[in-house]
């Protein structure tokens, strides 16, 4: 399973409350909640999508693990589909 990384042309900023992904080419900025920002920190080329989702479930206390799993996987998929993330 391929390891994933953030598109290196994008700028990622984070703090404890969330994060931002900035595209210098368009000037667009996407606001990320705490979980989405955590996922982006893991997109460093050393983990697959499944490994990232597993780490998210470990990091956050969730009431519905199945729903959280689906949400995290969907977010990663949305990054891939918009070329904001890619195989390392």
């Amino acid at each position: 399973m391929s390891k994933l990384k953030l598109n290196p042309e994008l700028v990622f900023r984070e703090d404890n409350d969330g994060g931002l992904i900035f595209d210098p080419a368009t000037g667009d900025v996407q606001v990320l909640n705490e979980t989405a920002a955590f996922i982006c920190t893991l997109l460093d080329g050393t983990r697959s999508a499944e490994e990232i989702v597993a780490e998210v479930l470990e990091e956050f206390e969730v009431e519905d693990p199945a729903a959280a799993h689906a949400d995290a996987a969907q977010f990663i998929e949305s990054l891939l589909s918009r070329s904001m993330a890619m195989p390392a």
């Binding site: 700028v11 900023r13 703090d15 409350d17 969330g18 994060g19 931002l20 900035f22 210098p24 080419a25 368009t26 000037g27 667009d28 900025v29 606001v31 990320l32 909640n33 705490e34």
Partner: protein
């Protein structure tokens, strides 16, 4: 390389400065209206301006924000509130609330209006000090009660200055207790009448404002808090919760109480931002061809200067308020004064400074 002219965007919203008069004498007002006794000269009959709004629908108009002065001083205000929804337009309003009784609350309800009421503190001493008319606090609370009785949702707006800073953290609960569903905190900056407040040390410095923001409580039960600072100076949790707050300036036009078009109400005071009398020139012509608006479309956001041109939020914030910047430095595309001050003081977050590829000189 010359840039291609931008297409004309839809005119989404008109800020209609219904009247140039007010029943209060707020010491921080940037519009600087005259007192109520002169009000007969400070509005046009609705029938004189209604055709302008009908024409504007062809330009994409969807919403009208009624402001002033105090909108409820206009003798046709109930007719305006009835006509706009009948024309298929959304209604927003900014009011001091002192003139809202059962009839006005019912009119707001029938218009499905999205409106805000000014409330500057939890005591008459503070509210009336800023509003500069004794008894306005009680009248405002009565207005809020009339809205509650009709089951209306509204926002309270609190203008922050030195005297109410200590009590601000208690304002969300106080406003909620009087029926508000959200609180917006406007930081008073030096503009219009508030120049005098600055001279007397009544305005907070930027570090003081940020300190007050840091003391604001988390709100719950669906009550929202909006602190009107540029996004780069807000905690990221505010942005995650409320969004970046994209500026709508490229789809907004001001219609002043005298029938003139302007960038916003500031057109009344700065001739450069008065776009002409809409009874003599069509709103279509103003919107599509006025040189200031054409240039605005070319320059925003890629032509923003100073720290705003290097900010990660440039495209959403659009320089926060170009009219305020024009007032401060005489040009529309410079850095917003609060952000420029933050940079000068070392308070602008480094992590939000980026390099944009798309820049217009």
């Amino acid at each position: 390389m010359p840039t291609e002219p931008r297409r004309v965007p839809p005119l989404n919203t008109i800020y209609y400065y219904v009247t140039g008069s007010c029943n209060l004498r707020c010491r921080h007002c940037w519009i600087d209206p005259v007192t109520e006794s002169q009000r007969s000269t400070l509005h046009l009959p609705w029938r004189a301006l209604k055709p302008v709004f009908e024409q504007a629908k062809e330009l994409g108009l969807r919403c009208v924000k009624l402001t002033g002065g105090e909108p409820f001083l206009h003798p046709d205000i109930l007719e305006i509130l009835a006509d706009l929804p009948a024309m298929g337009l959304g209604v927003r309003m900014e009011t001091n609330g002192t003139l809202i009784g059962e009839r006005e609350a019912k009119a707001l309800k029938a218009a499905n209006a999205d409106f805000s009421i000014s409330l500057d503190g939890p005591t008459p001493e503070i509210h009336d000090d800023l509003r500069n008319v004794p008894g306005s606090f009680e009248k405002t609370l009565k207005g809020m009660a009339a809205c509650r009785a009709e089951g209306l949702r509204f926002q309270a707006i609190c203008s922050l200055y030195r005297r109410n800073a200590e009590l601000l953290p208690g304002m969300p609960a106080f406003a909620a207790g009087h029926g508000a569903t959200s609180l917006k905190v406007n930081v008073i900056t030096s503009m219009g009448r508030s120049d005098e407040m600055r001279a007397h040390g009544e305005l907070l410095s930027l570090p003081e404002v940020l300190e007050v923001r840091s003391r604001m409580p988390q709100t719950g039960n669906g009550f929202k808090l909006f602190f009107d600072l540029p996004p780069a100076l807000l905690p990221l949790r505010d942005i995650v919760r409320n969004g970046v707050g994209t500026c709508g300036i490229l789809g907004i036009l001001g219609v002043l109480h005298n029938g003139h078009a302007g960038l916003c109400g500031i057109g009344e005071h700065l001739p450069e931002l008065d776009f002409g009398d809409l009874r003599q020139v069509s709103i279509k012509q103003v919107w599509e061809t006025h040189p200031t608006l054409v240039t605005l479309r070319e320059k925003l956001p890629a032509g923003l200067g100073g720290i705003c041109g290097r900010c990660i939020f440039r495209n959403a914030c659009l320089g926060k308020c170009v009219a305020n910047t024009f007032h401060a430095i005489g040009k529309l595309y410079g850095a917003f004064s609060t952000c420029a001050e933050a940079e000068e003081l070392g308070l602008f977050p480094e992590k939000y400074i980026v390099e944009h590829h798309n820049v217009v000189a």
